[in-house]
Symmetry: D2
C-alpha cells in the first residue's frame, strides 16, 4: 500500500541565510522528501508557509496520510485557521511527525496542551542518540546508538506530557541529556516528536536520520478510514438505549439535540 506523505516546511531560513541555503539547496523539505521517496511504498509531496493556505488546504490534508512539520523562525506566521485544520486532520486519523524546533510550533503546542519548552544551545556539538525501546518500529534497522557530529543542543526539562513511549534519548557533548523521540496519540491520530534537525547542519542528509523518518512515517500511518467528524458528541435518546430504560427525573435537553459547547 502506498503511504501519501506531505512534508511541510516554513522555508524561511533557506531564503534568508546563505549557510542554510548551501546545506539544503532544495530546502529542508526537499531533503526530507528525497530521503522518504527512496522507499517505493511512499509518495511524498511538500508544502510551505508561502503557498496559499500554507499549502495545507482541506483537500491536501484529506489526501495526506502522514504530515511532517518543520518550523522555527516563522511559528507566529502560521494562520490559526490552518492550525485548527491540521489538528482536526490528526484527530480524524492523519499521522503527524514534528521535527526539531517544531516543538514550539502552533500545532504541536495545540496537540500537547502544554508549554513544550526546553533549554537550548547552538554550538555545533556532538549529539548521540540512544534507543530506549527495543525493536520499536521507529527504530527498525538502527543500531542501539548513533551520532550526529554537529547539532544544536536541547535540554530538559522538556515541557511535554508523559508520552506513550520514550523511543530515543540524546546525549550532548556539553553535558545535557534529552528525551528525543516521543510517541503520542491524539484523537485517532498517531503523533511522533523527533528532536534532531537544526537548519545549519546536514542532519537530514544523514542515513540514520533518514531511516528514523521513514520508520516513523510507517508507524504513524493509520490505514483506517478517516473519522467523518472527530468532534462529534452524539446524543443517544432513551428510545435508542441499548438496554431498556425509562426516563426518570427532570432534564434540560430534548431528544437528539446538540449539547452545549
Amino acid at each position: 500500500m502506498n503511504i501519501r506523505v506531505t512534508v511541510w516546511n516554513e522555508n524561511v531560513h533557506e531564503q534568508e541565510n546563505r549557510i542554510v541555503a548551501s546545506v539544503y539547496p532544495d530546502g529542508i523539505h526537499g531533503a526530507i522528501a528525497e530521503g522518504l521517496n527512496a522507499d517505493p511504498a511512499i509518495r511524498t509531496a511538500t508544502a510551505t508557509l508561502q503557498e496559499p493556505e500554507h499549502g495545507l488546504t482541506e483537500e491536501k490534508l484529506a489526501q495526506t496520510d502522514v504530515l511532517l512539520w518543520w518550523g522555527h523562525r516563522a511559528h507566529g506566521e502560521v494562520a490559526d485557521e490552518v492550525v485548527e485544520r491540521v489538528c482536526n486532520a490528526v484527530w480524524s486519523g492523519m499521522g503527524m511527525i514534528f521535527l526539531h524546533s517544531a516543538h514550539f510550533s502552533k500545532p504541536f503546542k495545540r496537540l500537547m496542551g502544554s508549554p513544550c519548552n526546553l533549554s537550548w544551545r547552538e554550538a555545533g556539538e556532538r549529539e548521540r542518540l540512544w534507543v530506549t525501546s527495543r525493536n520499536h518500529p521507529i527504530t527498525a534497522g538502527l543500531p542501539n546508538h548513533f551520532e550526529l557530529e554537529h547539532e544544536e543542543m536541547y535540554g530538559e526539562p522538556f515541557g511535554v506530557p508523559e508520552p506513550l513511549e520514550t523511543v530515543f534519548l540524546s546525549w550532548f557533548s556539553g553535558g545535557e541529556a534529552f528525551r528525543s523521540g516521543l510517541t503520542y496519540k491524539r484523537g485517532a491520530g498517531n503523533v511522533f516528536y523527533f528532536r534532531p534537525g537544526h537548519e545549519t547542519y546536514p542532519t537530514y542528509h544523514d542515513a540514520n536520520i533518514q531511516r528514523v523518518l521513514l520508520n516513523a512515517v510507517k508507524w504513524a500511518h493509520n490505514p483506517a478510514p478517516r473519522l467523518a467528524d472527530p468532534n462529534a458528541a452524539p446524543n443517544i435518546p432513551v428510545s435508542k438505549a441499548l438496554e431498556p430504560i425509562e426516563e426518570r427525573g427532570s432534564r434540560l435537553h430534548d431528544d437528539g439535540e446538540d449539547g452545549y459547547r
Copy 2:
C-alpha cells in the same frame, strides 16, 4: 498545611432553571465548597462566570492551590484570555479538577489537546462507579464500587489522551461503560477529570462524591513553589556549558538571545 481551593462554576443553570435552583440553592459551586470545607485542612473560595474576569484574576489564581471547574451551557462565554491564564497557572503547578460537562470546557480542551468528545443521554439512569486503581489516593476511604441512582450517561469513545492512570470506570443502566476518573500532568500541574455531576441531580450532595472531590484536591495539590515562568526556554551559552565545549560550525543566534516562537 492548608490547601487553598477555588471552585469555579458558570452558575447559569441555577439562575435559569427552577429544578437546578431547587437542587442547588447555593449553586453547584456552593454545594461543592460546602463539601470541601468539611475538611479543616482546606479553605475553599468560589468564583463564577459573571464576576469581573470570571473571578479568576492573576491574584486569585496565584493564591489558588487547586481549581475545580464546572461549566456546561456557557463554555463559549469564557474569555480566551482567562483560559490562557488558567492554563499558565496549571503549567506553573496549580492543581486542576474538571467536573462532568467541563469535558467540553475551553481550558480542558486546551490542556488535553484533543476533541474531548463523547456520547450522552439525559435519562436519570443509574450510574455505578468502579475503582480500577487499588489504594489510589483519590479513592481513599471509598468502597470498590458505589452508585448514583440518577445521572446523565456519558459513553465511549471519550476523546481524551491516554491518561497517566485510569482511576474509575462507570457502568450505566442503559448499557454504556465509561472511563470516569482520569489523571494527567500538564507542565508542573496535576489534572484530574471526574465524570459525575449533572446539574439536575443531587450528585454533589452525595457522600461518596464529596469524598472523591476531597481526595482529588489533596492529590492535585503540589506544595512546591509555583514556577516563575512555565514557558521559559533559556538559551545556554557555550561559556556556561556544564562540560567544556568549543563552538563549532555556523549558527543563527547570538548568545543569550530569545529563541523563535
Copy 3:
C-alpha cells in the same frame, strides 16, 4: 508477509465437559485457529498442554511470530521451565495475546509482575464491549460497540499494571464494568490481554471476536529479527567508551567480565 501464529490451549475442559466439547468440537484452539486462518497472511499452528514440553519447544517458539494463550483449570500444570522459555521469547520480540482466564496463567502473571486478580461470576449474562481508543489497529473494522449475549463476568479492580493503552471496556448485565483490552510491551515483545472467551459459550465463533483476534495478531507481530539474548547486560570497557575517558577511583570488576546477577 506471512505471520506465523501458534494458538496454545490447555485443552482440558474440552476433554472433561460435555458442554464445552459440544461448543468447541475441535477444541478452543481449533476454533481460534480456524478464525485466524481465514486471513491468507496468517499461518496458524496449535499446541496443547498434553504435548511434550506442552508443544512449546525452543524450535517452535523460534518459529512463532505471535503466540495466543488460553488456560484455566490447569494453570498449575504448566511447567515453570516452559513459562521462562515463553517469557524469554516475548522479551526477544515474539508477540503474545492472553485470552480470558489466562489472566491467571503463569506467563501472564510473570510478565505483568502483579496479582492479575479480579472478581467473577458465571451466569451467562450479556457483555457489551466498547472501543475506547479510536482507530486503534486492534479495533479495525469494528463498530464502536458490540455484544456477546452470554459471557462470564469479570469485575474491577483488575490487578494489572497501568497499560500502554486501554482499547476496550466491557459492560455487564449484572452491573460491572471492566477494562477488557489492554496493551503492554515487555522487552521487545508486544503483549495484549483480551477478556472474553469463557469455555461454555460460543465466543470464539463470534465474528467480532474473530476480528479482534486477527487485528491483535497483526498488531502484536514485530517483523524485526528476534533479539539474540534478551537478558544480555554487556560490560563496556573504558577502552571502548564512545567518548575518551580515563578510569578513576577504585573498582570491583575486571574489563569485560560478567556482572553479578
Copy 4:
C-alpha cells in the same frame, strides 16, 4: 504522621572489600538510614541478607511503609520465599524503592516482568542527573540538574516496562544517557527505581541523593490500610449481583467456590 522505613542491604561488599568498607563504615544501609533519619517524620530500620529470613519476616514487612533495596553481588542468595513475601507486601500497598544494581535483584525483576538489563562500565566517570518531570514530588527542593563526580555508568536500552513517569535522566562522561528515575505501580504499591549508588563511591553521602531518597520515601508511602489479600479473586454469586440477573446457559463452577489458579 510517621513513615516506617526499612533499608535492606545485602551487606556483602562492605565485609569483603576494604574500599567499600572505608566509604561505608556503617554499611550502605547505615548511610542511607542516617540520611533518612534526618527527617523527623521518618523512622528507619535496617535489614540485611545475613539475618534470619534476611531480616524480612512477615511481621517486619507488615510494619514497613516503605522498603528500600540495595543488592549486587548476592542477588542469587536471596530466598525465593522472601521475594514472594516482599512482592505480596508491595501488592498490598507497601512502597518500594530499588537502588542502583537492584535493577537485577529478584524482587525488581519479579515486579517488572521484564529482563531489567542494561550496559555498564565501572570507571568512576561523571554522572549528571536531569529532572524531566517539573515539580514532581520526588524532585522537591532539587535543582534542574546535579552531578556525581564518580559513578558507575549504566547505558540504554534499559530492559524495563514503560514507566508511569520518567523523573530523571542521566548523562555520563563516556557518552551514554539513561533513564535514571522511573515510577511504577504494582497492585496497591508504589515502586520507584533510582539509578545512582555504586558501592565504591560515596554516593549515599551526597546531599542531593539523600534528598531524592527522602522525597521518594514520602512519594512511595501510601497511608491507606494494607490490602488483606492482594491476590483475592472473589466469586460474586448471581444472588448477590448488583443488578437483578438470572443465570443462563451452562456453567462449570458452583456459587462462591474458588476459581482455578
